[in-house]
């Protein structure tokens, strides 16, 4: 029950770039129903902002996308061009990782001091792109906590049932968490 209002490409661009003014942001927030054409306008605007040509299927983060890299391949790709691999495997496992465990380290990102998480109870994990060093994610979790797979989209259901435009390579085995394929290989590597 979205409505057939149309939002200008300029406004969508301003949202992406963070240049939208408060009046326009409020106007969009107050839409009783969202404009149903937004997704493909959004994808088009995002596609114009990256230097590579692979088709963006979904945006996961500020600089992180699921793209169709080749027929039958859906991978996670950084805005810089770095490819993290199959989107069914948690892309964080392809990152560089830096962990802040001590109070001194934590004090570099939390202030004032009493606001700082407690070492041994918590650690701060920073996940960087191996190529451009963008910080794609932060976890503040207990030591030993499995890395969190924040979002695994069901792309085929989304494109077929939500958008009405099925993907050409849809199949039954896309919507699966295959992160343990990675850790299993790591365990073998010893």
């Amino acid at each position: 029950m979205t409505q057939d209002v149309s939002i200008s490409p300029e406004l969508i661009g301003q949202l992406i770039d963070g240049t939208i003014d408060n009046d326009n942001a409020q106007r969009l927030l107050r839409l009783e129903r969202k404009d149903k054409g937004r997704f493909f306008q959004y994808i088009e605007a995002l596609q114009q902002r990256v230097a590579w040509k692979e088709k963006i299927l979904l945006r996961l983060g500020d600089k992180l996308y699921i793209v169709a890299s080749a027929p039958g391949q859906r991978i996670v790709k950084c805005a810089c061009g770095h490819e993290f691999g199959d989107y069914r495997q948690n892309w964080k496992l392809g990152c560089r990782v830096r962990v802040k465990r001590s109070l001194d380290d934590m004090l570099t990102v939390y202030d004032p001091a009493p606001a700082c998480p407690e070492p041994d109870i918590q650690e701060i994990r920073e996940f960087f792109c191996p190529a451009c060093a963008t910080q794609h994610a932060v976890e503040v979790v207990a030591p030993g906590y499995p890395v969190v797979f924040e979002m695994l989209p069901d792309l085929d259901k989304f494109y077929r049932e939500y958008l009405g435009q099925p993907l050409p390579d849809e199949g039954t085995d896309w919507y699966q968490d295959r992160s343990d394929d990675v850790t299993r290989e790591w365990a073998k590597a010893g």
């Binding site: 029950m1 949202l15 992406i16 963070g18 939208i20 942001a25 927030l29 009783e32 129903r33 149903k36 937004r38 997704f39 959004y42 979904l58 983060g61 500020d62 992180l64 964080k92 496992l93 560089r96 990782v97 570099t108 990102v109 202030d111 004032p112 001091a113 009493p114 606001a115 700082c116 998480p117 407690e118 109870i121 918590q122 701060i124 960087f128 191996p130 060093a133 963008t134 910080q135 794609h136 994610a137 932060v138 503040v140 207990a142 030591p143 030993g144 906590y145 499995p146 969190v148 797979f149 924040e150 979002m151 695994l152 989209p153 049932e161 939500y162 968490d177 343990d180 850790t183 790591w186």
Partner: protein, 746 residues
């Protein structure tokens, strides 16, 4: 002995003939029809709306107007600031089964408990023995039988009967100033079980014919420490309910009973459909995972209750999965219940979880039980959210369930970000603060209190396109306000505000930073015979409020408090240099200007702190998280924060955001753009140099996992969460541990 009861029928009037369905029968029908058809009560067609939409909407608007009017009139009966001038109250109208039809402004997700309370009354046959009559008044504050989030939230239910048949319930709710637990206030921290939670009422009749019985007043006077406010709040709830009761009777007379019955079913089904459609229109199907942690620090403080004298690290874990019926929230993997005050019940968990769901999906439809029908919940038995022990405490439930709400709400934000509805995508944090306690004046007047200010207005997390705003937000109410300082001062005679302001730099950092939290300095003057405070918080700073930052930003820091007892404050007052917030207090201490014999910083719940003349009690709460990589922040925004005083420490800010700036004699900061670009480039190189590949990190961490090389609280957290198959499977697959590996009970 049995013959002693033989004459019972002569003592009481004979039971009335049941001319209508019992509540239990109504529930059976509701559940069966809803399950069979997938539509609320089997309403597959909105026939009344289709036949005459104007009449249908006029009918609903009269219902809605009744509950809105109830709040806007009745709250002025109240004495407590939270109910009168803040958002800590609500009125609603529900079906006979407790399904919400309409709600006022206020903390609207509390409608989640209505069906829990009524279902309990139905199962226990309240309407059969000895009957429910028009205008009967019921009190509810129990988590297990009433679904109440915590006993400090108190509910009045008024039965609406028409020609002897129960046709609805008017319900009024507010957060009490004090609810009579061993720990004074309205969140009984340090409770070990329900018997320490204060005034806990399973659904119980306290009045007839819209009038409370005399004994009920005695309960407030003898079982709570704020009788005057609580009695007036009780009258407030009932006054609002009476207005809804009256309006409903008039509505039935105007539209007819059959129309009323059918229309109320259609209203809920209509909103259910709209909510499901909104979920479909705004989200991306898939699985969203989130986590959060809380430390319950009881070790050394619970020696009387030896089974509770331990620390517990709580794990809050949830996934969100949109589906054809709406979406599923699965909490499997969260900790087990414990002998502490942070446990939830399914009803209480719903009240938290529905906050984000209502805000996101019921904004353009009638706010009804439709949300409950669209959001499927899995609270595994034995867990923090569904204890298999009937006497758990849930006095401080909100301290962790706000994170459950944040996990769900952030899943929606991620979905809308991916979908392109960026204007809706922001970071949700659930970090609030409050303080509470009791005292006695020199004249011997006892009082109990709660100060809700940092619960009423918190910083909003960063949007994906701009910084979060200060103070404007409260996930639990549309009526964000921190209230008037003078109101709170009048409630707590010895405590005055030395300062009350935003706390600079107190937010999660990112490309866009979170809205700053707040801090106040409370000054104790002439404490009378006694005053003591405690503090229950929705996210204390030994953990962040949520575990995951958004898109490379840091989650908001948790709340904390400082007690500064035995001070030289009078000397500082002479100089005019007194602290206005937590940061200033610590700086004055470091500078040797404020001398404090007993300075304590609390990053977990504090035990009762007695205050004397010139003692200070300082709090900070309501911070929120950022969005995006801090190195992508526009340097001009960093300079603005430096010049606005929102970034009070240049070195910290420059090191985090990678900027270089100079300050002139007037104190104005100016960006050095070239040096900033070079510094950011160097910091990106340093990130790669200082980090390791995920594989190397994993290999090293796995060794630690296999050795169980964690502090006992962390080990126990894993032992508890791995007692649930879903997290056990995730943990084992991630770390590739042998089948025999486990975290044994210690």
């Amino acid at each position: 002995m049995a013959h002693a009861f033989d004459n019972r029928t002569q003592l009481t009037p004979p039971s009335k003939e049941v001319r209508h369905q019992t509540l239990k029968q109504m529930f059976e029908k509701r559940d069966r029809l809803t399950q069979q058809t997938g539509h609320y009560c089997g309403v597959t067609e909105l026939t009344l709306r289709a036949a005459d939409p104007i009449k249908y909407e006029r009918f609903y608007n009269k219902l809605h107007a009744a509950v809105l009017a109830a709040r806007e009139s009745a709250r002025f009966v109240a004495a407590s600031p939270g109910s009168r001038e803040m958002g800590e109250s609500l009125w609603g109208l529900a079906t006979p089964e407790g399904d919400t039809l309409a709600v006022s402004l206020g903390f609207l997700s509390h409608t989640a408990i209505f069906p829990v309370s009524v279902r309990y009354m139905a199962e226990k046959e309240y309407d059969v023995n000895d009957g429910i009559e028009d205008g009967d008044v019921y009190a509810v504050s129990d988590g297990l039988t009433g679904g109440v989030p915590h006993p400090g939230d108190f509910y009045s239910f008024v039965a609406i009967c028409y020609e002897g048949e129960i046709v609805g319930w008017a319900v009024g709710i507010n957060h009490l100033m004090e609810n009579g637990a061993p720990v004074s206030g309205s969140w009984a921290t340090f409770s070990v079980d329900t018997f320490m939670d204060g005034l806990v009422c399973p659904p119980m009749r306290t009045g007839r014919k819209l009038k409370q019985e005399s004994w009920w007043k005695a309960i407030w006077q003898r079982r709570t420490r704020a009788a005057t406010m609580n009695i007036l709040d009780d009258k407030m709830r009932l006054a609002g309910c009476a207005m809804v009761h009256d309006a409903t009777h008039k509505l039935i007379k105007e539209f007819g009973l059959e129309y009323y019955k059918r229309a109320t079913r259609e209203i809920i089904e209509e909103s259910r459909r709209m909510i499901v459609d909104n979920m479909h229109s705004l989200m991306v199907p898939g699985t969203y995972n989130g986590c959060a942690f809380r430390l319950v620090k009881y070790k050394g403080l619970q020696q009387i209750w030896s089974h509770a004298d331990k620390n517990t690290l709580l794990h809050i874990r949830a996934s969100v999965e949109p589906n054809d019926k709406g979406l599923l929230v699965d909490t499997e993997g969260s900790s087990r219940w414990g002998y502490h005050s942070y446990n939830a019940t399914p009803g209480g968990a719903d009240a938290a979880l529905f906050l984000g769901m209502m805000n996101s999906f019921a904004h353009n439809t009638k706010v009804t039980a439709g949300i409950e029908l669209a959001v499927q919940r899995h609270y595994p038995s034995g867990s923090l959210y569904n204890p298999d022990y009937e006497f758990t405490s849930n006095a401080n439930l909100w301290a962790q369930t706000v994170s459950l709400n944040s996990i769900g709400f952030n899943a929606i934000s991620r979905a809308m970000f991916s979908r392109g509805y960026l204007e809706e995508a922001f970071t949700v944090d659930g970090n609030w603060g409050a303080w509470q306690g009791s005292g006695q004046t020199d004249q011997g007047v006892s009082y109990g209190f709660t100060n809700f200010e940092w619960l009423g207005g918190t910083g909003r997390g960063a949007w994906c396109y701009k910084d979060g705003e200060p103070i404007v937000w409260a996930a639990w109410s549309q009526l964000a306000t921190c209230g008037d300082a003078e109101e709170f001062e009048s409630c707590v005679p010895p405590l005055f505000y030395l300062g009350r302001k935003l706390l600079p730099g107190y937010f999660g950092h990112g490309k866009y930073r979170g809205g700053p939290g707040n801090s106040a300095v409370h000054w104790c003057v002439k404490p009378g015979k006694h005053i003591a405070v405690t503090r229950p918080n929705g996210g204390l700073s030994c953990t962040t409020s949520v575990g995951l930052g958004m898109s490379g930003a840091y989650p908001g820091p948790g709340s904390f408090m400082i007690s500064a007892r035995d001070t030289n404050l009078p000397a500082l007052i002479e100089t005019g240099e007194t602290p206005r917030d937590a940061r200033e207090l610590l700086e004055l201490v470091d500078a040797g200007k404020l001398e404090v014999a007993n300075l304590e910083i609390w990053k977990t719940d504090c035990p009762e702190l007695a205050l004397k003349d010139n003692d200070l009690f300082v709090d900070a709460a309501g911070s929120s998280g950022g969005w995006g990589d801090p190195l992508d922040r526009d340097p001009a925004l960093v300079i603005k924060d430096l010049n606005d005083g929102m970034a009070p420490r240049y070195e910290f800010t420059a090191n985090l955001y990678g900027i270089v700036a100079t300050q002139d004699a007037a104190g104005v900061w100016t960006l050095d753009a070239d040096a900033t670009a070079a510094r950011r480039k160097a910091m990106r190189h340093a990130r790669l140099a200082d980090s390791q590949s995920a594989q190397d990190w994993w290999a090293a961490e796995r060794t630690r996992v296999l050795a169980r090389d964690f502090i006992p609280e962390v080990r126990e957290m894993y032992e508890q969460s791995m007692s649930f198959a879903k997290f056990d499977n995730e943990f084992r697959k991630f770390w590739q541990v042998p089948a025999a590996f486990n975290f044994p009970k210690e």
